[in-house]
Amino acid sequence: MSLGAEFAPTLEAAKDGEEWAWADLYREVAGPVKGYLASRGAMDPEDLTSETFLQVARNIHAFEGNETSFRSWVFVIAHRRLIDSRRARGRRPETTTLLEATADSTGGDVEEEALDSLVAEELLRAFEQLTDIQGDVLALRILGRLTLEETAQILGKRVGAIKAAQRRGLMALQQRLDFQGVTQ
């Protein structure tokens, strides 16, 4: 999904307070942001997503950039919100809410959904085995579809560290999923 050439006029309209523009922007980023927050243990990913988006609205007047920049910026804010929520809870992230967070919006075949849920459950359990940084990196790269550099920027790390984290994270996931036969 991408607004493409429509992004610039949509951004301008959003700065003017046009609801349709905000609706378009929200549709673009809400799913990945919510998925990212949920996969990283946010207690209430929906609330956090809307908080993130309202923060975007508060600062939108100062934003200049393209769609990629916008997406990355949204994730910067989402990540900060996530850190806040983790601090507030004072415990490690859990990865059990992604299914709940996505349950409302999934549609289609019931059997397919059930299968998706099973696989997703396995994926989420595998995600739980990752270190925090590995989980953060893979969630941003896979769910947020962010680049190495954007991920490094958001997490305040070097690109080399991001590469190392995703290497090890993927190895760990592969080992676990191989063990469970999920990828066979």
Binding site: G17, F53, I60, S69, D84, I142, L170, V182
Partner: protein, 390 residues
């Protein structure tokens, strides 16, 4: 004993693996059969979160967001600006001192150039310079903090800190005390930590005055924690990982006058040496690699001021509104440092990448952090089975 060729071979394998991982994550065809097994995982996770949100939710959020924008959009009228200017006469002594400090920093740096080309003509900042400096205070605290984040994005680290300090000072919120102490503690260290400082200022901008935490103390602690990362990056803190004595971690409602650990803090006016390339390298365990990283940093085009953090810039800079930026997505952060003990270790493992892999970014393999690494399984330090079939 391992020979150079062994390291080189390992590096080549690692690079090949990294390229394959990029293909995996961007949906390109894979050559590595082991890695290809993870394609369903990536696609599965994306499909879980790729659905459009319910339309009721979209409409609700869009309405709220639009309302937020409309609330904030009215520009200050002449009368309002005049009113604020009158209000500024009653500056607190500390704010006045900080204002003077802001004025003095560029002056002492000997770079009192006439004007920054980015700013002239901006109607909001076209006032007399003295008024401009005070005029930073115009608008809400969050707006000024946002400006500070933008200054940081331009590489004007210490100006950004001063700007943020001014904003928090004038805000008068008691929960800002810890944040102020933390900001002042890094005044001399944050010059080239562009991405980390941006993160810190973004955090402040988003949370100042919102009373994060039950008693509002979470905000100050959050700032202190992020500030420790920056100071740790620059070798300032004794114990950046666990919260050494350099930064306040106590209740923000305590006495604000004490600024613990300030012995290592250079005066604001002397803080402009941080932006020089190679500064980190001198403090880094791995100076050669770091030097490579810093050298490249100047060529990325993302660092607004590769020669420094702007402290030596024109004095006018202090009071000007930075141009609107898209820096949140700034793809390369030359000075973004590893902040995680675990991954700091990983950085070291692959440290040589940064030297031989200049095209892949200046940051690679630049182990700035010296935190004690958390041991990981030895099998994870090698390229491992993911790359076995490639």
């Amino acid at each position: 004993m391992r020979r150079l060729g062994d390291y080189r071979c390992e590096m080549q394998t690692t690079r090949r693996l990294d390229r394959e991982i990029e293909r995996l994550l961007t949906g390109a065809p894979l050559q590595d059969r082991d890695l290809a097994l993870l394609t369903p995982l990536v696609e599965g996770l994306r499909s879980l979160t790729g659905h459009l949100p319910p339309e009721t939710e979209v409409r609700s959020i869009a309405a709220r967001a639009a309302a937020v924008v409309l609330e904030r959009s009215p520009q200050p009228t002449d009368a309002a600006a005049s009113h604020r200017r009158r209000q500024r006469v009653g500056l607190t002594p500390r704010l006045a001192a900080m204002t003077m400090a802001v004025l003095m920093v560029p002056a002492m740096a000997g770079a009192a150039l006439a004007a920054d080309s980015a700013i002239p003509g901006d109607p909001l900042y076209g006032l007399d310079r003295a008024f401009e400096v005070v005029g930073i205070g115009a608008g809400s605290t969050s707006e000024r903090l946002l400006e500070a984040a933008q200054m940081a994005a331009q590489g004007r680290g210490n100006e950004a800190i001063n700007h943020a300090v001014l904003a928090l000072e004038s805000d008068g919120d008691s929960s800002n005390v810890l944040a102020l102490q933390a900001l002042e503690s890094i005044a001399g260290f944050a010059g080239d930590d562009r991405s980390e400082l941006m993160a810190l200022l973004a955090y402040i901008s988003e949370n100042a005055g919102r009373g994060v935490g039950a008693d509002g103390s979470e905000f100050g602690r959050g700032v202190a924690e992020l500030a420790r990362e920056i100071a740790g990056e620059n070798g300032a803190g004794d114990n950046p990982a666990t919260g050494g004595p350099d930064f306040p971690t106590t209740d923000p409602n305590g006495p604000p006058a004490v600024n613990p650990g300030q012995g290592q803090q250079p005066p604001v006016g002397q803080s402009n040496s941080n932006g020089e390339p190679g500064n980190n390298g001198a403090q880094n365990e791995n100076g050669a690699q770091n030097g490579t990283g810093n050298g490249n940093a100047g060529t990325t085009g993302n660092t607004a001021n590769p020669n420094g953090n702007g402290d030596a810039g024109p004095p006018d800079d202090v009071s000007k509104a930075p141009p609107a930026v898209d820096k949140p997505a700034d793809p390369v952060a030359p000075d973004s440092g590893g902040t995680d003990a675990d991954e700091g270790n990983e950085d070291v493992d692959h440290g040589n990448e940064g030297v031989d892999q200049g095209t892949q970014g200046p940051d690679e393999g630049n182990p700035v952090k010296t935190k004690s690494p958390k041991p990981e399984s030895p099998s994870l330090t090698a390229p491992g089975r993911l790359g076995a079939s490639s």
